[in-house]
Symmetry: C2
Subunit: 332 residues, 2 copies
């Protein structure tokens, strides 16, 4: 049992852990989608220090997306993660915490913007791709791999992908040098039972090719944490989470819940509690993430949260009723 998160019967067996499990904090990266990546250096530094103190394995700071498509004047530094911006926060990062960035297929000038590993504090490059962009993603994976980085691929919006296409996509990715393939619930629409079946499907492909399975969830139906631990129980070993669930729309799996669940003594909850209270919750005055009925409805309908974000973007006094939003969203 020493290498199991817990035993099959589930009850009274919470005393062991699975050392292969690695946690990636993406507070600044996913949260950046709610403020055009304009966090203060102090906030980013506080999250970095929290990740170091909490024993988290990876911290993702932001995107490596194109400065042509996303001009520097329109976004904060974490849309591009220039080396000088990273080093302003982490120095040479002489810690056990590894650093990560993500690059979107067709939105990244990765060939020039991602430096060779020896010139960067970045350890891990993650490639985010929709199913139809997999050929682009494969080139990005090869590029990052050849530059010396660890790599993952995050296949987005799989809740809208046909079974055959997903099978074929996973097969192609499994033949690449990518280290981890992530199951991503972009719309927060999956129930735990679906996560169970999909994790098994991903694992089958990944185990045959020596790769890990990762999980990245959204909280539209208050299942982000539940779905993450369901994937863990099935065998996923790479887990995304964010402090206080900060992330796009309904947010992500809260890191504080996940660390409470994992029994690896490497992880410490106390610094995360402090960061939630003193760093992240104060952001709620200016940033609005987390569960809302409008996100629940887009999740139920397996839609991008766009409509809900528009709804919630209207000042509260001018906002229409949730019933009216429901009527509109159902009228397709």
């Amino acid at each position: 049992m020493g290498d199991e998160q817990h035993a099959d019967n589930g009850h009274g067996s919470w005393l062991t852990y699975r050392p292969e499990i690695k946690v990636l904090d993406c507070t600044i990266r996913d949260g950046g989608l709610m403020n055009d990546h304009r966090f203060t250096d102090d906030l980013v530094r506080a999250v970095y220090q929290t990740c170091v103190s909490a024993g988290v394995d990876y911290m993702e700071l932001g995107y490596k997306n194109s400065k042509v498509q996303f001009p520097k004047s329109d976004f904060g530094p974490w849309k591009h993660c220039d080396e000088e911006d990273l080093r302003r926060i982490v120095g040479d990062n002489e810690t056990d915490l590894k650093l990560s960035v993500i690059a979107d297929a067709e939105k990244s000038d990765y060939k020039t913007d991602i430096l060779p590993k020896e010139q960067s504090v970045i350890d891990l490059v993650r490639v985010a791709t929709y199913i139809h962009q997999i050929p682009v993603a494969l080139e990005m994976i090869h590029d990052a791999h050849e530059k010396g980085y660890e790599t993952t691929v995050n296949v987005m919006a799989v809740s809208t992908v046909q079974d055959n296409d997903l099978e074929e996509g996973l097969r192609v990715l499994s033949e690449s040098p990518v280290g981890t393939i992530y199951l991503v619930d972009s719309f927060g629409s999956f129930y735990s039972e679906e996560i169970r079946a999909l994790t098994k499907q991903y694992l089958e492909v990944c185990q045959a090719s020596g790769k890990q399975v990762g999980i990245h969830t959204h909280n539209n139906q208050q299942l982000a944490y539940a779905n993450t631990i369901e994937a863990v129980v099935q065998g996923a070993n790479r887990l995304d989470a964010t402090i206080a669930g900060l992330g796009r729309g309904a947010g992500n799996c809260p890191l504080e819940l996940l660390i409470g669940f994992l029994k690896n003594p490497r992880y410490r909850l106390r610094p995360i509690l402090d960061c939630v209270e003193n760093q992240i919750m104060p952001l709620r005055d200016s940033m609005h993430w987390g569960f809302d009925l409008s996100y629940m409805l887009t999740g139920l309908l397996n839609q991008h949260p766009r409509a809900a974000m528009g709804y919630l973007g209207t000042p509260e006094k001018d906002r229409e009723s949730i019933v009216k939003f429901y009527d509109e969203i159902m009228d397709v």
Copy 2:
């Protein structure tokens, strides 16, 4: 598949439903634990109308607890659910919605306070018991059964009960005339995998004796909804939920999420959305329920939420830090 909530593979099979599933709204009952059962008649009537419109099967209005132990001067009407209070809201309840009350073992003068069924609008009497009170609970079940009511028994705090005791308790209850035995996660401490194992255990006992299994959850670890649907998938057919999760401490499984999940055309989400927005959310100015780090910590430690309720009961400006609360609660 017509009688299944969904098929085993879980993926792409959300088009069927299980007609045996019944939903019980306990917004007023569990929420009453946060305001000494002092809801206005207008609010109780609005929740009643919502349950009728939404096609919910049962609505629980409150407790049938002792007026000696809990004087009428200290509590609102839903601590005792006198017939005249009930009828002021529901008249003769000429609807398809059944009405429920709950009575706590050792806290109820049930022999006198629960009238014969023909004199009452109540349909269902639920008995709440700790494991050591089962002999009392059995007498209460017999009393209610003989008076003509449907009955359930809610065995509380099973996360603190030894396996052998639970097995024996379930066996004794299965020999009573009770209709449903509820799995209750009083402290919000169970993970979905534990719910899975326990639901199976309850089902084994209940199926042999022709009873149903129910599920009642709390949201300390943001798993109330996830654990409820996990129990559904395993075979639980009686589901407790509350509008906007209103309930003690971290609250309960939100009815709006549950109705979204269940595919029975009998249920309608629209009136619940309206009730959340216009009736329940305005209560937040004076009532504080729902997820909080302090509830997460009592849940993690499998403790009664008492310490967290005390912590949150302190005015915010005088409240100690969450890290200090963590240090204290860990120092046992």
